[in-house]
């Protein structure tokens, strides 16, 4: 599962080669912010936590072992950082959209790029509305459900990797993701009924 480039870069960094760290940062800082934005509901906090996660990668680089996929290790660190931070701040539910998103360029619409209707003004407006809803539902979800769902859907981690990252058994991960999806479904049903049924685009 581990990306060989990641492991090479991490081992290089362990030997003191900073280019390895630069490569990893370049590859993962974006996805990590994405994960943390969804996790915390706050863009500024997400960036801060991303930096903190990479700082911990630096500090703990000596403890990294290549038999764990770097990405699993990184998401584990990030999830811990995020959960600690949420606890510390006793985060309240966010009702606002997280960040100025740009639906026309970055966020075509719910349903993905292959959905032609997404580019119409109505499509964009609705996409935004759904996105806000999704974020609100995510924020209210138990942390572990949220983390497991995001790692699975947005970051393409296998259940086994998520279990590793979260210190859970695979069966627990499976049930967390299912419950999270069901919760979203119950809340989103009125919206998602309008979405195209057939779709060939798949997960990231």
């Amino acid at each position: 599962m581990g990306n060989p480039e990641d492991i090479q870069d991490m081992l290089a960094f362990q030997r003191g080669d900073e280019q390895g760290f630069h490569n990893l940062f370049q590859r993962y800082s974006g996805p990590l912010v994405h994960y943390l934005v969804r996790f915390t509901g706050n863009r500024a906090v997400a960036e801060e936590l991303m930096q903190e996660a990479f700082l911990r990668v630096c500090r703990a680089s000596a403890t990294y072992e290549p038999r764990t996929a770097f990405r699993t290790w990184l998401y584990k660190i990030a999830t811990n950082v995020a959960r600690n931070e949420m606890r510390r701040r006793e985060y309240s539910v966010r009702k606002e959209p997280l960040s100025p998103m740009h639906p026309t360029t970055q966020n075509p619409a719910i349903g993905g790029r292959n959905n032609p209707g997404a580019w119409s003004p109505e499509g964009v407006a609705e996409a935004r509305e759904i996105e806000t809803d999704v974020q609100r539902i995510l924020s209210r979800m138990p942390e572990r459900q949220r983390a497991a769902l995001l790692l699975s859907r947005h970051h393409g981690l296998a259940y086994r990797e998520i279990a590793q990252a979260m210190g859970l058994r695979v069966g627990a991960v499976k049930s967390l993701i299912h419950r999270a999806t069901e919760t979203l479904r119950q809340h989103l049903e009125p919206h998602v009924q309008n979405l195209p049924k057939e779709g060939e685009q798949d997960a990231m």
Binding site: M50, C58, A62, G111, N115
Partner: protein, 162 residues
């Protein structure tokens, strides 16, 4: 297979996370059961909704270099919350070459050495006020491990006092 059982496994089914035997039984049930098909399609739509939510544009002023620099200049343990580590700075050292644990061990060792060296001085001072002054003036020494890393400072102290 009963609908209730099928439902329980649906998300993992869609994620391709079921063992082949179970997956085949799910497929067989889904081929006939309209209710479970509807349930599967609903979950599939939710999944596609999530997939359609792309990453916000990512711009940060902080680069990998800044993080490396921060790692080099901090001395706190990894249990720190963000922000606090920034305030505690020591002379830069090559963290990535040395690793943090040896650095902590070194600092602890030095702390013991310094306390051992300073204790007789404390005892030998005649007046309580002088002694308090001695501690007060060098409070940092007792509070900040990072100062102890500066051995010449300790030597100077010893020369001055002894």
């Amino acid at each position: 297979m009963r609908c209730k059982n099928v439902n329980r496994h649906l998300t993992a089914f869609l994620d391709g996370e079921l063992p082949s035997r179970l997956r085949e039984r799910m497929e067989a049930h889904l081929a006939d059961c309209v209710n479970c098909q509807a349930e599967r399609d609903a979950l599939e739509r939710v999944r596609r909704t999530l997939d359609g939510m792309e990453a916000p544009p990512f711009v940060t002023s902080l680069s990998a270099d800044a993080i490396l620099e921060r790692a080099r200049t901090e001395v706190r343990d990894p249990g720190d919350s963000p922000g606090r580590a920034e305030k505690l700075r020591v002379r830069p050292f090559r963290l990535e070459a040395v690793g943090l644990r040896p650095a902590i061990a070194l600092a602890a060792g030095l702390a013991v050495m310094v306390l051992w060296a300073v204790y007789p001085l404390l005892k030998s001072l005649p007046l309580p006020t002088d002694r308090e002054m001695f501690i007060a003036e060098r409070m940092e020494l007792f509070e900040n491990l990072e100062l102890i890393e500066d051995l010449p400072l300790v030597e100077r102290l010893e020369l001055a006092e002894g």
